[in-house]
């Protein structure tokens, strides 16, 4: 039994890395997505095409490839050395930022043009209109898609094993390889389920909060 407890403890230690990466990615990629979406719907052709190029690259290539490129490629091409955690964080923030950019852009353009007109005839500027009228309504509409991404991210963090960063799944895998038992995989599965359940619960609460006006 102490063997199992030891396993659980070792896997949980790995989960801390997973959770840190998760937290950093969510906290940075959502604002990045908001900015990206605002840039993409802006009148500036240049800004909109630069962002279009960014989302094209990051949505169009595998996350794993991006991780390899930033961890192994950047030191090689630019002489920038990143530790595993930094490389993983940058990759995940940029990748998820690209998806959030497109999700939020879709939310923004789904808002009725009458909302812009009403704000305009009341004398509101474009930035006031965005901040006070359009974006708050967008939140409600993008919650389901954002929730999907937030759940996918939990599982995507397992990719960091590819640059041999310790995480939940890698630690589990190490025990499996050492002790010839698949119990660590079961434990890892349960932990992933717990994490995603918490996220689902949070998003359900958010949806309830934002649907009061509908």
């Amino acid at each position: 039994m102490s063997g199992t407890l030891g396993m659980i403890w070792y896997i949980i230690k790995g989960s801390i890395n997973t959770l840190e990466l998760y937290g950093i990615t969510i906290v940075l990629s959502i604002p990045l997505g908001v900015l990206g979406a605002l840039g993409k719907v802006s009148k500036s052709k240049l800004l909109s095409s630069v962002i279009g190029f960014y989302t094209w690259i990051f949505r169009g290539t595998p996350l794993l490839l991006q991780l390899f490129f930033i961890y192994f490629g950047l030191p090689h091409f630019l002489g920038i050395n990143l530790d595993k955690f930094e490389a993983a964080s940058i990759t995940f923030v940029l990748n998820y930022g690209a998806y959030f950019t497109e999700i939020f852009r879709g939310g923004i353009i789904s808002i009725d043009k009458g909302q812009y007109e009403a704000a305009k005839v009341l004398g509101m500027t474009y930035s006031q209109t965005m901040r006070r009228i359009i974006l708050p309504q967008t939140i409600r509409r993008v919650l389901p898609a954002t929730s999907n991404e937030a759940i996918t991210l939990v599982k995507d963090t397992a990719l960091v094993a590819a640059i041999s960063m310790d995480d939940l799944l890698r630690n589990a895998n190490q025990i499996v390889a050492r002790e010839y038992t698949i119990i660590p995989f079961v434990i890892a599965g349960v932990i992933y389920l717990l994490l995603t359940s918490v996220i689902v619960w949070i998003f359900n609460k958010l949806e309830q909060k934002y649907s009061i006006y509908e």
Binding site: V121, L122, G123, M124, Q137, Y213
Partner: protein, 252 residues
Amino acid sequence: MNMIQATNISKRFGNLEVLKNVSLSVAKGEVISIIGPSGSGKSTLLRCLILLEKCDGGRIEIEGIPIEAFDETGRRIPLPHKDVKDGVRKMGMVFQNFHLFPHKTVLENVIEAPIIVNKIPREEAIKEAEELLSKVGLLDKKDAYPSQISGGQKQRVAIARALAMKPDIMLFDEPTSALDPELVGEVLGVIKKLASEHMTMLVVTHEMGFAKEVSDRVVFMDQGEIIEDAPPEKLFNNPDHPRIKAFLEKIL
């Protein structure tokens, strides 16, 4: 000085000429109804006056401030940004489909622009908003969301929201066209109340009874032109133009 002086406004959507050299002047305290068949350019005219649409020619002055002007060659004359902003702010607008902010309560809809645009302290904005809401008979709905009230109530909130910016001129773009018939009266009642307070108003409407009752002048538009601009008794009883007769016969 006229409240609105629009001269030779023209507007095209692609090849379609929706406004052909339309001129209109509105004096202080006047209530003008704009009527005519759909597609005649009534709403476009209103939208051009408040710069929701950019017209392609002509000149618009609001209380003497030019907010849109073109030179003889048809090129737009750049006007001081501040003048344009000030001119436009003298007008409030009410839309056919209300366009209330759905994520804000009735009260929040009304106080939003006074606080954000005019930088009025929140308590003061609330006090004024509550007065306006009681004027349109909706003070008891102040904490409701737009989705929880009827169309007629929404439009009355929209009127209160526009009035909260203290406009000198109110533009109404078919304010009752999206309403169930039994809700039309309550909205027209509010507009009549404003007329009795001598608010300058321009109302695009299909409500002929209303136009006859409250207007100082009725403007009939057809195919992008003003066909006749006359007091209601004249326009409804003895119009100069056969097209007006035909239109009135069809709808009355």
